[in-house]
Subunit: 196 residues, 2 copies
DNA sequence: TAATATATTATCAATATTGACAATTTACCC
DNA sequence: GGGTAAATTGTCAATATTGATAATATATTA
């Protein structure tokens, strides 16, 4: 009995708003009032559903990381038999497939991770698994390449992808996106040469 | 006549302290009191020498960018005739030659550049010239490589370098540094193959 | 030593931000 | 319709942060 709970829905709205705010103004630059306004509700509601600031930040970290998992899993599940490389590169570097928000929030959280060992561990694990997945993908495409080479290339792809998103507030030109794509292809070609 | 001015010295102390604070807590996460304490002086002095917050941030951007120039120029001037590549890679990726602070501050400024077109332009120019310098260096080492390839590799080196510094708050292991170095060498090897 | 320009300290007001909680309203069930 | 649990609104105090300026101390020169 009693009124039906909107906790799940409201929490989702709040975190989505928080993510947008952080991507725009950074973590410490996002006040509870801004988050509330972005979410279209009063600050009291933010507190009611998401607790105080400390809890809210912690929840955001879990939420962002948690959200990225199914998206990435779906992406991995969609890897085609033929031409998996183009699929991978399109997913990582084509503008239409890219939303800088996640990486910007991760970047903002990384800053404050310097003062929060738990958060640092969480982000390390996230980046590790992301990188390792790419290593696995590349390893299956180039089974004869050396493991060390594959790992290095995977790290390179992640770096290129992160850097592109991190620079997005500067409104850099499309030539940077092309350079990243070209660079990624060059990197992968080193695996091809090594494995043939 | 009158008491000798300490403006230059004090301003330097303030900006150096501000830089440390920003690298640790981000731009909006650094209060004037924290900056003052880090600089070992009262907030009143910070205001007296560096103006209000807006001026202080603007000054910091100019200072960080300005400071990076002579360091980089000196580095470029030291490029040896034989084995310039190892010199370049050591400079970009060896821990002993690296101080993440500058990149962390640039990263923090990049965030707020989304709301400050002037700042965005400044940072774009900075990254442009940094990237172009590396393009020039690579181009002189591999004169027969295609320009597009050289540009892509230069962007790749910058991305690897930035990413490594940006992840430093996470206390990532040395394997990431090795991966970055290995990846950079792979990238450069693509130029070598193309030019021979 | 007096004049002077600057550093340094001390302090106040204005605003921003957060934390907390009471009061009210709303939707569902019996 | 009455009871109930939760949403929603409203409000207050405590603290943090900034902006600004007066008051004082100090080092240099004439």
């Amino acid at each position: 009995m009693g009124r039906p709970s909107k906790k799940a829905e409201r929490t989702e709205q709040i975190l989505a708003a928080f993510q947008r705010c952080v991507a725009r103004s950074g973590l410490e630059g996002s006040t509870l009032d801004q988050i509330a306004e972005e979410a279209g509700m009063q600050r009291s509601l933010v507190r009611h559903f998401a607790g105080n600031r400390e809890e809210l930040v912690r929840t955001l970290a879990h939420w962002v990381i948690g959200n990225s998992v199914p998206v990435w899993e779906e992406f991995k599940a969609g890897i085609p038999e033929d031409n998996p490389l183009d699929y991978l590169l399109d997913g990582l570097f084509e503008e239409k497939n890219t939303n800088p928000e996640t990486v910007l929030v991760i970047s903002a959280l990384t800053f404050s991770a310097g003062n929060d060992p738990d958060l640092a561990k969480m982000l390390r694990n996230w980046i590790n698994s992301f990188t390792q997945d790419i290593q696995t993908i590349l390893g299956s495409i180039f089974p004869q390449a050396k493991r060390e080479q594959v790992d290095a290339v995977a790290f390179g792809l992640v770096s290129l992808n992160f850097n592109l998103d991190a620079l997005s507030p500067l409104n850099i030109g499309p030539e940077y996106r092309r350079a990243a794509r070209t660079c990624a292809e060059s990197l992968i070609s080193t695996l091809r040469n090594a494995s043939e």
